[in-house]
């Protein structure tokens, strides 16, 4: 993931603090172990309690994916923040993680984002960035 995308995600999750923020990652899935992310786009957090979790509206995601597909990108995964918590996936994260998609979790402590983690539901692979 390029530095400017990482900054974009950091700015997004910091602006949402103390609520959780979420977004989608798009890029090319070229058969590599680690795909290349070319877009990180914010999504509306539709959870009932946004300080406790996040939820993506399926319709919004459909529309976004359709638009990005037209631009030649595919959905690679999602990012979301953990306000005042460590970036390790929570039980809720693991339960609803779709296999085959990457998850990036970003801690936001006191309003400042920290070191993110990227993980993969199925293989359990984790690669700190």
């Amino acid at each position: 993931m390029a530095a400017d995308l990482r900054d974009r995600i950091a700015r997004h999750v910091e602006s949402a603090y103390p609520e959780e923020a979420c977004g989608a990652l798009f890029g090319s899935r070229s058969g590599r172990a680690r795909p290349i992310v070319t877009s990180a786009l914010p999504l509306v957090n539709r959870a009932a309690r946004r300080t406790e979790g996040f939820r993506v509206g399926p319709r919004e995601l459909e529309e976004l994916c359709r638009a990005r597909q037209a631009a030649g990108e595919s959905l690679l995964g999602f990012y979301h923040s953990h306000p005042d918590r460590r970036p390790e996936p929570s039980s809720a994260d693991l339960e609803s993680a779709v296999p085959g998609l990457w998850q990036v979790t970003v801690p936001v402590i006191g309003g400042r984002s920290g070191a993110r983690r990227a993980w993969h539901a199925e293989e359990g692979a984790e690669c700190p960035r």
């Binding site: 959870a47 009932a48 959905l75 993680a97 779709v98």
Partner: protein
């Protein structure tokens, strides 16, 4: 074999070679999933675990109705359908917090400062779920106020779509929502009002088969249904599940509200053991209702639901509140728990859900009573072959359709044509040009002498249900040659005279 279009969500599309939709011929849900396992094993493995149960992030909706492959067994598919897969993308930070955010504190400030409410009360509402039966006249104001007050989960059960004639009272829906499912329109309205609320739209008709599953897990149920079978069904399900029920009902200018199903309180059956005879109490579409009345009753139901969730105040349990909006008077009658009540009494005879359509007599359940049937072998007496051409409805009431009526009128047959609607309905549309006369159902019994029992008689109303009652009554009182007009004047307007208004 029916064709099912399987809609695949974006987050799973990479497992289906990037396709949005697959078409599969099948007659059961299980068959569909089996075919999928063979043709698209990767996608199938993402939807279902090895033991055939659905993965936790996947929900399946067959024609808008949620189905559960692991639980529902072989769901039959009888027509071309759409199976939509929804993959929830959700999660959250570890750990729980029981405090309010600054935004919530501001949003709910005016109720937070109420004595005995506070942050604790607000968190209690946030963690609570209220299920509304019906997203109509009563459900609209109730859902709006519950969402505004911050009830965390609001479920809406309704299988109808928004109709223009709903809008004068069903304020969850607007003109732009015409034709859309009510639960979808409602979910949008509520999300606009308060995005913190988790709205659960349930586009289904509540039945004895699905009621217990649908109601289980909710903290309070609000009954905003418009018919007796559903009212008894909701009452019985709440009693069986031990869920408090905020009851409300409206009729013309009168409204009622109470709370049923509390551990020591009465239930709806303690108040009304048996439903009224089918057809005796017309619904809103026939009787009319003042739009603001369900607004008042629905907000009373919401108030009672909030009190129950907060454990605050004195609930309406044990009291039936009756509002006469005409004179704007509130009355109260005491409702005692009936120890003989068939469902909540000391020796209940109802221990599971029953057939409520049959219980309320809305479906023909008994053989026809020969004593009130016309003897069709008598032959024509009044110059038409009315009785010979008549069929019988499922309740044994003789009836003709609008085309048959037109034929009789065209031939100039002698006929008593009686309209049993109310005067204001006559003003909308009538068959006065064909000699029809107005005798509202309530007056019929006193005005029988105005009719000739030996003549051929056709009775009509708006859609044929009130007139069927009238025919039954007339048949029992010597009018052997009386028939009902099937489909009522609205059918006439639909099929014979498109220029006539329908309502």
């Amino acid at each position: 074999m029916p064709e099912v279009r399987l809609r695949i969500p974006a987050s799973l599309r990479s497992h289906a070679r990037d396709r949005e939709e697959l078409v599969i011929e099948t007659d059961t849900l299980a068959g569909l999933l089996q075919q999928l396992a063979e043709s698209e094993p990767l996608l199938a493995s993402r939807l279902l675990a090895d033991d055939g149960t659905r993965r936790p992030y996947v929900r399946l909706f067959l024609d808008g109705r949620e189905v559960d492959a692991g639980v529902d067994g072989p769901v039959p598919i009888t027509k071309d359908s759409v199976l939509t897969v929804v993959a929830s993308i959700a999660g959250g930070r570890p750990g729980e917090s029981r405090s309010l955010t600054p935004e919530e504190e501001l949003r709910y400030h005016r109720q937070l400062i109420l004595p005995g409410f506070g942050e604790e009360g607000q968190v209690r509402l946030r963690e609570a779920g209220v299920l509304l039966i019906g997203a109509g006249g009563l459900g609209s104001p109730a859902a709006l106020y519950l969402a505004a007050a911050g009830v965390g989960r609001i479920g809406l059960v309704d299988a109808d779509t928004v109709d223009l004639s709903n809008l004068h009272r069903q304020i969850l829906h607007g003109t732009t929502s015409l034709g859309r499912p009510k639960v979808d329109s409602a979910a949008e309205t509520l999300a606009r009002l308060n995005p913190h609320v988790d709205v659960v739209p349930l586009n289904l008709r509540l039945t004895s088969e699905n009621a217990l599953d649908t109601l289980a897990g909710w903290d309070v149920v609000i009954d905003g249904s418009d018919n007796f079978p559903t009212r008894y069904l909701v009452n019985d399900a709440c009693v069986l599940l031990g869920i408090p029920l905020a009851y409300g009902a409206v009729f013309r200018f009168e409204g009622q509200a109470s709370v049923f199903g509390l551990p020591d309180g009465p239930c709806y059956r303690c108040l009304f053991r048996d439903p009224p005879p089918a057809g005796l109490v017309p619904g809103c579409e026939e009787a009319g209702v003042m739009g603001v009345l369900p607004g008042i009753i629905g907000t009373i139901q919401a108030t009672e639901a909030l009190k129950l969730l907060l454990g605050a105040g004195r609930s309406l349990a044990g009291r039936l509140l009756i509002l006469d909006a005409g004179s704007m008077e509130f009355r109260e009658i005491e409702v005692r728990r009936d120890p003989e009540c068939p469902i909540c009494g000391t020796n209940p005879t109802i221990t599971g859900l029953i057939d409520y359509e049959e219980f309320c007599g809305s479906r023909a359940a008994h053989p026809k009573d020969p004593g009130i049937r016309s003897n069709s072998s008598e032959g024509p007496a009044g110059g038409t072959d009315l009785m010979e051409s008549a069929s019988t409805d499922p309740n044994g009431v003789p009836q003709i359709d609008v085309a048959q009526l037109q034929t009789i009128l065209d031939r100039g047959g002698r006929l008593q044509l009686v309209d049993v609607r109310e005067a204001h309905e006559w003003e909308i549309s009538n068959l006065g040009f064909a000699g029809a006369r107005l005798m509202p159902l309530g007056q019929l019994f006193d005005r029988l002498d105005e009719l000739d029992p030996t003549e051929d008689t056709v009775i009509y109303c708006r859609s044929g249900s009130r007139s069927a009652m009238a025919v039954k009554y007339l048949q029992a009182h010597g009018f052997a040659r009386s028939v009902n007009l099937k489909g009522g004047i609205n059918d006439w307007a639909r099929q014979i005279d498109p220029g006539m208004p329908r309502y």
